[in-house]
Amino acid sequence: MNMLSLVTFIPLAGALLVLALPKERVKAIQATALASAGASLALSIALIPLFNRGSADMQFVERLSWIPSMDIHYVLGVDGLSFPLLLLTTFISFIALIGSLGIKERVKEYFFWFLVLEVGMLGVFEALDLVLFYVFWELCLVPMYFLIGIWGGPRKEFAAIKFFLYTLAGSVFMLLAILAVYFNTAPHTFDMIALMKAHSAWSLKFQILVFLGFYLAFAIKIPAFPFHTWLPLAHVEAPTAVSVILAAVLLKMGLYGLLRVCYEMLPLGFHWFLPFLIAIAVINIVYGALCAMAQTDMKKMVAYSSVNHMGYCLLGVAGVSAIGFSGAVLQMINHGIITGSLFLLVGVIYDRAHTRDISAFGGLAARVPIYAGLMFLACFASLGLPGLAGFVSEFMCFLGGFAQWKIYTAISVLGVLATAAFFLRMMEKVFLGPLNNKWAGLSDMSARELCSIVPLTVLTIAFGVWPKLALAFINTTAVQMAGLFK
């Protein structure tokens, strides 16, 4: 059974089916999209019991020859690093599709692009051939461009083109790096598993150059300082569900690439870059949190909080230890869940009030208690309250970082404080204090909104109380990557 191919290409079949439907049949289009994403989700969940948690090898591997003359293969496979991200992608895509049911204009195209995007994201996490990886990587770009550019906010065209060009600029360097790697192996190969073993033949100088090529592409996606400025703009302009995908999955592609390609294929280059990486991590954490503190737009604030949270992941990665790697991967998953719900929740209020200005509200907790409760929970999870998902992963990232970089990690703790500050301030201004009479008629969450957010909330609590649920998948691979027990 080619399970991974099925998971990946069912959404593509759905997309083609959507394309074949007449555009007036909105219900049928929505049902097709949900069904195909749901089938992909169900299949990926079905893989959970089949996944061997005790093995650090690639699993569910599929291999077909694609372009034999250049030794390009169609190879898919997952391990403890990519499998959780695969699950996150199918899950968040489904959730975001539920959140997209409110889309009214050009429904057919929207769902088409959305499903194509899902294919691209899934492929990135599964591909084990650099050409295939690159194809899937670029495949994410086009749908995202249209999703922001057509269904976005007032400055959607600018945001879309900026996102597209910025990311494409990174990809070009990645392509060069891929070619460099290809021509410097004997025999020439794009096979990622083979390349992970080939690096011993490469000189430090070569590894550094190739590392920088890849790093540029990944850093833009993560986004790592100073390549992060496309993110707030794209988030503010993107429709809610696309923001969710962007924060929850797309950013993870950068970190995944950093671990899979930069660390595993170019260890010398990675270690050479480590002193810069830790500095970038700290800047992401502290500076991202400070920028978030200065925001008046809720969505932009959450966007900058993503910069801050990706900093935690980078801190864990820079620890180069099993705890750090596990923490970083877990933090990716948790950030996906928590920030996904934050964006959905901000979307809920925006749909009603048509503003996201923090100071435009006040006292909403009395008016919309369910909404306030869910928002409080998501905010506390994001600022790392124990018992909710963010805490353990954040702590592991810090543990990983602290073992190597004491001073840097100590500075990063200030970022935790600033994170608490901006979330608390937002909660106070929006939900506490006297009720702003302008919003006296605001209605609480609808059933559809609850359907999209409550699953995320449940997972937020579940992973907080029992982190083993997710860590069990990650640990073996993290231990193997860190070279522990050797």
Binding site: P226, F402, E428
Partner: protein, 654 residues
């Protein structure tokens, strides 16, 4: 019977979730009784454990845990997988704290039935109360420092929810944020301390870390750094200088919540954590000394601020800060038993004082003591119980506070006589401001007839908790100190340090001075004539202003907040203007200019050249055509013949 001790934090947690999710908001909701039942069960368990320990039937410590999640790590070149146990560790201090926390929580919940009656969010209040207590109980029983820290943070978030319970008012909303952020500032140190501990020894289990610490695995430098980190966290939570600023504002919450925070569930946590990690401080004398001095400074400053406040709850809040300083100072001076003993007795009389103040506020609907007076006849139970608590906190024999405070002074004297004298001064101020509170509230003539007229004793559901705590304020000290029981229960093995012995006469002298202080307080405030007090205030107005301004520490922190906000604005300015608009968009602009230039070049030169060629051939054609006369076939033939012959010559000549 200890095998089910893990249920003690879990049952209130469960009750809280059931109340929150399973009940509807309704002033007559039965939800409170569920909370009370859960807490009552916990109280029974805690008391039976304590009883078992006292009777020698239960041998401590008891420990049990399950594995939570694995952490693969490497410490000192040894790779292993740490299984992060989550479980319970019951030792003497934990057994005592269990009783204190469950008892005060139970009484507060009972009292709240009356105090919060008719509140529109009655159900939510009880859910939060149960959650608050559950977090604190988790902190008390946990055998793992990381789990302790997690409960610590949950205590923080519960206090945030409860201080801001009446969130429609800006005051509570602000106070809750202030409390959370100030304690979070301290928690940063604690967080780093935890990271350091794990990096050093690869474990969070308290008994394992203790084992490593006593074997000297930490080294002086690391232990000192960890000690200071822990102290940061504890100073935040237990409202020590300079992080005490949040506690006086925390009274914006409902008064029973204040009682809970001040007596059992929040501020006690810091003292308790210092005691739990005492082995670190024993390995780091500098950190230990810092604990003592922080405690001393806090005790002194807070007591002086309490002297001039007119808000009944604020006096009590300063008093708590000051008393926590006493405990901290004791712990730092090596008085482990004394610090924890005072934590216990203080919980009873401070809980009582807050509940009593709540009863008074309930009756007169104001916090301002200047509008009270003469309430002793109207509210005899409140008056008598609060008087007992006042004598206890002042340290009058044979009330509870006498025994614990005496023990603190003794151990501090042993450590350093200078500290002893400063602490004694704080103790004298305690007696003074507490009796000032009693005088202004209950004695003398009534100053606001309207309020006095409407005042009445609170219902039984509120006075019964007062009476229970009143009884404990009288007898708990003597009972625990009897036959050295408290030394056996709350002890920590540590090396004997040389130091002067506490002369008994000095103890008697302190007691006499306390009585003088009480008498002076009565003389100034108890007779209904404040003229001397006012004259003193006028004479020393500069000092009074500093005290009423709380030594301006709030301003200091507001300044810090302003700095942070400025940094945030600057960071965002750099982000938006410099990085984004200058470099990223500038790059785009540069590219556009470049492409415009190349388009211009293209149009001006390349395309012109191409067009030029086209024009040339067109011109040439037109020119040639002019040479030829139209329609003359012979002429065409002639040209053709010339062309052919020229071509032939050209070809042949090669």
């Amino acid at each position: 019977m200890l095998e089910h001790v893990y249920l003690i934090p879990l049952i209130p947690l469960f009750a809280s979730l059931v109340i929150l999710l399973g009940f509807k908001e309704d002033p007559h909701s039965p939800a409170p009784y569920l909370g009370l039942a859960a807490m009552g069960w916990c109280l029974l368990q805690a008391v039976s454990i304590f009883w078992g320990v006292a009777g020698g039937r239960i041998v401590l410590p008891y420990e049990a845990s399950i594995n939570w999640f694995p952490l693969a790590t490497e410490v000192a070149g040894k790779a292993f997988s740490y299984q992060m146990p989550i479980g319970v560790l019951i030792d003497g201090p934990a057994a005592v704290m269990l009783v204190v926390v469950t008892l005060v929580s139970f009484l507060v919940q009972l009292y709240s039935l009356g105090y919060m009656h008719g509140d529109s969010r009655f159900r939510r209040y009880y859910a939060f109360l149960s959650f608050f207590t559950a977090s604190m109980l988790g902190l008390v029983v946990s055998n793992n420092l990381l789990v302790t820290f997690m409960c610590w943070e949950l205590v923080g978030v519960s206090s945030y929810l409860l201080i801001g319970f009446w969130f429609e008012k800006p005051g509570p909303a602000y106070a809750s944020k202030k409390a959370f952020m100030t304690t979070k500032l301290g928690d940063c140190g604690l967080y780093l301390a935890l990271l350091f501990i794990f990096t050093k020894v690869g474990s969070f289990q308290i008994d394992q870390v203790r084992e490593f610490a006593t074997r000297g695995y930490f080294g002086m430098g690391a232990a000192t750094a960890i000690g200071f980190g822990l102290l940061c966290g504890c100073a935040g939570k237990s409202a020590q200088w300079p992080l005490f600023i949040w506690l006086p504002d925390a009274m914006e919450g409902p008064t029973p919540v204040s009682a809970l925070i001040h007596a059992a569930t929040m501020v006690a946590a810091g003292i308790y954590l210092i005691a739990k990690t005492y082995f670190i401080f024993l390995a780091a004398p500098i950190a230990m000394e810092a604990v003592a001095w922080i405690g001393l400074i806090t005790a002194f400053l807070a007591a002086s601020m309490a002297l001039v406040s007119y808000d009944i709850k604020r006096v009590l809040a300063f008093s708590t800060v000051s008393q926590l300083g006493f405990m901290m100072c004791a712990l730092g001076a090596g008085g482990y038993t004394a610090g924890l003993f005072h934590l216990t007795t203080h919980a009873f009389f401070k809980g009582l004082l807050f509940l009593g103040a709540g009863s008074v506020i309930h009756a007169v609907h104001t916090n301002d003591m200047r509008s009270m007076g003469g309430l002793s006849k109207k509210m005899p139970i409140t008056f008598l119980t609060m008087l007992a608590a006042t004598l206890a906190i002042s340290g009058v024999w044979p009330f509870a506070g006498y025994f614990s405070k005496d023990m603190i002074l003794e151990s501090v004297y042993h450590h350093s006589p200078v500290m002893f004298y400063l602490l004694t001064a704080a103790a004298l101020m305690t007696a003074f401001y507490m009796f000032r509170l009693i005088s202004m509230t209950f004695l003398g003539p009534d100053r606001d007839h309207e309020k006095h007229h409407h005042a009445h004793e609170s219902p039984l559901v509120m006075t019964v908790p007062l009476m229970v705590l009143g009884l404990l304020s009288v007898v708990a000290g003597a009972a625990l100190a009897h036959d050295g029981f408290v030394e056996r229960l709350l002890s920590f093995p540590m090396p004997q340090t040389p130091g002067p012995e506490f002369p008994r006469a000095l103890g008697l002298g302190v007691s006499a001075l306390v009585l003088c202080s009480l008498a002076l307080s009565w003389f100034l405030y108890g007779r209904g004539d404040f003229s001397i007090a006012e004259a003193v205030k006028k004479r020393f107005s500069a000092v009074f202003n500093v005290l009423e301004g709380r030594y301006y520490f709030d301003q200091l922190f507001l300044g810090l907040v302003a700095v942070a906000d400025g940094a945030a604005k600057l960071a965002f300015w750099i982000d938006a203007r410099v990085i984004d608009q200058t470099f990223v968009d500038g790059w785009g602009l540069l590219m556009r200019v470049f492409s415009e230039l190349s388009a211009l070049f293209d149009g001006l030169f390349i395309d012109r050249t191409v067009d030029g060629f086209g024009g040339l051939s067109s011109d040439l054609g037109t020119g040639l055509r002019a040479l030829v006369a139209d329609g003359q076939v012979q002429e065409y033939l002639l040209y053709a013949a010339i062309a052919v012959s020229l071509a032939t010559i050209f070809i042949l000549s090669r």
